[in-house]
Symmetry: C2
Subunit: 258 residues, 2 copies
């Protein structure tokens, strides 16, 4: 059983704290600049204390998780006073381990998932990408991650950056393309919901195979130049989306050539 | 109860024939140039006959569905000889109703879904987009579609084209971006499967809201220019994907402005 504290009371803390407590660990403190946010979280935890100071000298926690926006991590870490021998981890997908350089026992404890308070996420299925400054820290955070998730990986800061680039393409950009599709059909008075079953089947199929390129469909991969020309012409009122259409068509055809 | 025949024995015929038979209709003929393909389909149907001629003069079917690739529809339709008063429908998302111009009772019976033989699709949840040359035909195909699906829409040829443009963005292009993500991470020895839970949550979330733009995440929408610059620099070995990254980032930021 580990004793843990959270620095930050947002979505990541919310989901991680609950999963860790359910796995038998004890949450000691939850820090938020605004103590009311910390209290919202501790209310659902067994015996965690809400705090709004970063002096943890008196804490009995073994490990501290920084769960705040990326751009504030370095500054907040510099203000933390931890008990002797405690581990400090950040939970960011983009920041290197070296962001926590002043702390000898530092780690990255990155859940490769998007969290919102209102949506349940099965933490057991979330891949955790871990990195540590030394063997003792690595052993500790690997055991901790394995107590809540079935998929735990050691991933270097460089590899984490590449996973992040991949996630931007597969997730952020895909989401945007769905938003583009919605704008196009709704401007003509058609319901976006008409496309939802097709979108669902597309993603389900892509995730069922090893390589989504093998289940690519549509005019680009078929080389249906007449349909492509029709679509490009239709998009004349959407110059940016017209360029996206052309470029992604080129990329699909390029990839299929191998 | 309708009597129907299929011209073409591919994935669409496979799923439609089964759904229509399950709803109590009778499949009379299945045509394929190679009669063995037609027989593969009729084997699973109650009393359908496999044929390899387009002369249906002796058929007792009321309605014929052309379920073949788009580029062959016009040619095959021109070769069909149908019984007096029969309806001819194509099932294409891209072809206008006028493709079947020689037939007075013509329609479009377009299932807005992607089918493969090996995957079960719940036809009840597939939106059907219908169009007809006259009231009698419209009434007939609307009733038929409603007997197998909960969502049946009358959609003009122009509207169907717009839905298709939307589907290319939301489905074909999204699938490709997942393939791009896979290539990027696997080239560095990382498993694409690491990203799958995040992808699943992304599209589940996008489909749960009215407008995916409201759940957009990532560096572009956050205005995180440092991460964007890092990613663009990393993509220097992928010039086409680098352009895609820049353009989609611009499009996300553009949409969020207004």
């Amino acid at each position: 059983m580990a004793k843990l504290s959270f620095i930050g009371a947002g979505n990541v803390a919310w989901h991680l704290a609950q999963a860790l407590e359910d796995a038998g660990h004890s949450i000691r403190q939850v820090y938020s600049r605004d103590i009311r946010h910390a209290k919202e979280l501790t209310r659902n935890l067994y015996d965690a204390q809400a705090v709004n100071t970063l002096d943890f000298t008196a804490s009995d926690a073994d490990i501290f998780f920084i769960t705040i926006p990326d751009d504030a991590v370095e500054r907040i870490a510099d203000s933390c006073i931890l008990p002797e021998g405690a581990i400090l981890c950040h939970t960011s997908g983009t920041l290197p381990l070296s962001t926590l350089r002043p702390f000898p026992d530092r780690g990255v404890f990155y859940p490769l998932q998007t969290f919102s308070k209102s949506r349940h996420v099965d933490v057991q299925k979330v891949p955790f990408c871990l990195e540590a400054s030394n063997d003792r820290t690595e052993e500790y955070i690997v055991a901790l991650a394995q107590s809540i998730s079935k998929t735990v990986y050691l991933v270097s800061s460089d590899e984490r950056k590449i996973l992040h680039v991949g996630a931007v393409f597969a997730c952020n950009f895909s989401n945007h393309l769905m938003a583009v599709a919605r704008n196009i059909v709704e401007r003509e008075g058609l319901e976006f919901s008409l496309l939802k079953p097709l979108i669902e089947e597309t993603f389900t199929k892509a995730l069922a195979v090893d390589n989504p390129a093998t289940v690519q469909t549509g005019p680009a991969i078929r080389g249906d130049e007449q349909t492509i020309a029709n679509h490009v012409r239709y998009l004349k009122d959407y110059p940016l989306q017209q360029r996206i259409y052309r470029l992604l068509t080129e990329s699909i055809q390029d990839m299929s050539k191998g």
